[in-house]
């Protein structure tokens, strides 16, 4: 049986008039990634603050690595790493000084702290910039340093709060590789993100949060399947009156038409063979087809279906 490394039951938290969390349950087995997905203000960061002992829940309780986050906060802190949304590395210190400081505050003696800092600088490709002040680091370098700092004490559980927000695609891809390596090595990760693509790429399981509540949970595949069938997108060479009647028997629901009548979009029950049928039907009425795309629903579509709004 899998160990559950993060377990939250009915967490609630109110800030003034805002109900940041309204009863959230989470469960993350050891060595897996849970993606917590939701728009700004959904309650993701509040959940992370509670699970990392920075905030107390008004109701409900949570255990991380087997310890209660309120009554055994000290034990929790010895076993977690946290990378915050706005990287909290110390700007006035060098990269090396930052890591040594965190290592010493994690209980390592000076010599061990220096060794650990060097290892992490090497691993995160920061060795060349190790003795530069962090103020001059790029966004990607800061995030890597922040992540390195959170790994100083070999945490069993890692919290990554929007680790790639604001990063360029290259830096994001590097961050993803690091996260995959960590999980492969047995670390349990809770990752919050606004990017559906990121949850899709990294997370074993996904929880979708909106207005402080879990509105869906499952694997990326399960969430997509639950939203319904595939999406069809057809681009015609020119608008054609016969196109809509020809498509009607093949699609579900209404057909959206735009680009002056050239682009037609609709849901289809199954992806199998549908592109061929669409081209035959359109060819039958004399419509010229430039492009046909049939794709599985993205998490964007899922989020829209669940909350009635897009992400961000």
């Amino acid at each position: 049986m899998d160990q559950i490394m993060i377990e939250a039951t009915d967490l609630a938290k109110r800030y003034g008039d805002t109900q940041a969390l309204a009863g959230v349950d989470l469960s993350v087995p050891a060595g897996t990634i849970l993606g917590v997905l939701g728009p700004n203000g959904a309650g993701k960061s509040t959940a992370v603050r509670i699970l990392t002992t920075l905030a107390r829940p008004d109701a409900g309780h949570a255990r991380v690595a087997g310890y209660d986050v309120v009554t055994q906060a000290g034990e929790v802190r010895r076993r977690i790493g946290v990378t915050a949304q706005d990287a909290t590395v110390d700007e006035a210190l060098t990269g090396r000084q930052n890591l040594r400081m965190v290592a010493e505050l994690s209980g390592l003696r000076r010599g061990a702290a220096a060794t650990r800092a060097d290892e992490l600088l090497e691993r995160f490709e920061l060795a060349g910039a190790a003795d530069r002040v962090v103020k001059g680091y790029s966004g990607g370098m800061r995030r890597r340093l922040d992540l390195a700092a959170s790994l100083v004490a070999h945490p069993a559980v890692l919290f990554l709060d929007e680790p790639t927000t604001g990063l360029d695609p290259t830096s994001r891809a590097r961050m993803w590789d690091v996260v995959r390596d960590l999980v492969a090595a047995g670390t349990t990760i809770l990752l919050t993100t606004q990017y559906l693509e990121e949850a899709d790429a990294l997370a074993d399981r996904i929880v979708v949060i909106d207005h402080g509540r879990v509105v869906a949970r499952g694997t990326a595949g399960e969430l997509k399947a639950a939203t319904g069938g595939h999406r069809l997108e057809v681009t015609l060479s020119a608008p054609h009156d016969g196109a809509l009647p020809a498509l009607a028997p093949l699609v579900e629901g209404r057909v959206d038409v735009d680009a002056g009548g050239r682009r037609l979009r609709a849901g289809v029950r199954s992806g199998s063979g549908v592109a061929t049928e669409v081209i035959r039907a359109l060819d039958g009425v004399g419509a010229l087809v430039d492009d046909v795309v049939v794709h599985a629903p993205s998490l964007d579509d899922v989020f829209f279906a669940l909350t009635g709004q897009g992400v961000s």
């Binding site: 049986m1 899998d2 160990q3 559950i4 490394m5 377990e7 800030y15 469960s27 087995p29 603050r49 990392t52 002992t53 920075l54 905030a55 107390r56 255990r63 690595a65 087997g66 310890y67 000290g74 034990e75 802190r77 010895r78 076993r79 977690i80 946290v82 915050a84 706005d86 909290t88 590395v89 110390d90 006035a92 210190l93 000084q97 400081m101 965190v102 010493e104 505050l105 994690s106 209980g107 390592l108 700092a149 004490a153 070999h154 069993a156 559980v157 399981r205 909106d210 207005h211 509540r213 879990v214 509105v215 869906a216 949970r217 499952g218 694997t219 399960e222 639950a226 669940l306 909350t307």
Partner: protein, 290 residues
């Protein structure tokens, strides 16, 4: 919004077996190390941004020269020239106003997320405050040394033994350390570094000036004079003047602290620490519990 539950994990509470950071058993030793690490971190900040230090470097020189050459009007005090009287007062004045640095530093760390980072680490909770108080004590030492050196450069002279000279250094520093805990409380309740600085100076300037630091209290209206003679800044200043062997007109005042300035200065300082240090820790706890 109906909840779509595609699948649910069955929570299996586990025995706490996850590997942990090194045990923190030697809690006192580790607390001391936490404090040392955080003190050193604050000093690196100061070294990186020397302008932060202008309160304790440029200001003391400026105040000393302004008071001695511009504001004194050539007044002779207590049988010596003004600068013999003024240097101890300038030490108190500069240390008192510079103590706001503690509030500003803590407020900055609270706002920048630095404190949150520290709080996710298994450190002694009060280490953030104690580390700040110690790094600011070093700033106070710099500040006081600069006033003394400036004074020596312009002709101020102590007339005393090495032991009394050392005591004359220690008492203002002890008082500055106490004030740091007082402004730490302010830092815990203010919205940010700017407001901490603003509120702090409104309190600290009257504290520094309604005293015997820059002018003898004898010429003050009775009510103001009573306040000035019981002001801890006056006790600290009178103690320093006495220990430096400088003119100390307050020795003729009847108020108890002016008759026993060294004892009064130490009592004030210890009292302020006894009240403000636990209060600052409590306020820090409240501020960082949400």
């Amino acid at each position: 919004m109906s909840q779509l539950t595609v699948a649910t994990g069955t929570p299996t509470p586990i025995a706490p077996t996850a590997p942990a950071a090194p045990a923190r058993s030697g809690s006192i030793g580790q607390a001391v190390r936490d404090v040392v690490v955080l003190t050193r971190r604050n000093l690196v900040h100061v070294a990186r941004e020397p302008l932060q230090l202008s309160d304790v470097t440029i200001q003391p020189v400026l105040f000393t020269l302004l008071f001695v050459y511009v504001l004194s009007g050539g007044v002779a005090v207590g049988g010596g020239d003004y600068k013999q009287f003024a240097i101890a007062g300038l030490i108190s004045l500069n240390l008192t106003t510079a103590s706001i640095g503690t509030a500003v530093g803590l407020s900055t760390d609270l706002g920048s997320g630095a404190v949150d980072r520290f709080r996710t680490l298994p450190i002694w909770r009060a280490a953030v405050l104690v580390g700040r108080s110690l790094s600011d004590l070093l700033s106070s030492l710099v500040c006081m040394s600069i006033v003394v050196l400036t004074g020596l450069a312009i002709g101020w002279r102590p007339h005393t033994s090495p032991a009394r000279f050392a005591a004359a250094f220690a008492i203002p520093l002890l008082f500055a350390y106490a004030l740091a805990w007082a402004t730490a409380c302010l830092g815990m309740v203010s919205d940010g570094p700017e407001s901490a600085q603003g509120i702090g100076l409104v309190v600290l300037f009257p504290l520094a000036f309604v005293s015997n630091a820059m002018v003898p209290t004898a010429g003050m209206p009775a009510a103001v004079r009573a306040i000035a003679e019981w002001n801890p800044v006056s006790a600290v200043t009178a103690a320093a003047r006495d220990l430096f062997g400088n003119p100390n007109p307050s020795a003729t005042a009847d108020a108890w602290p002016m008759q026993h300035p060294v004892v009064a200065a130490v009592l004030w300082s210890v009292g302020i620490v006894a009240v403000c240090a636990p209060l600052a820790v409590a306020l820090y706890r409240r501020r960082t519990t949400d």
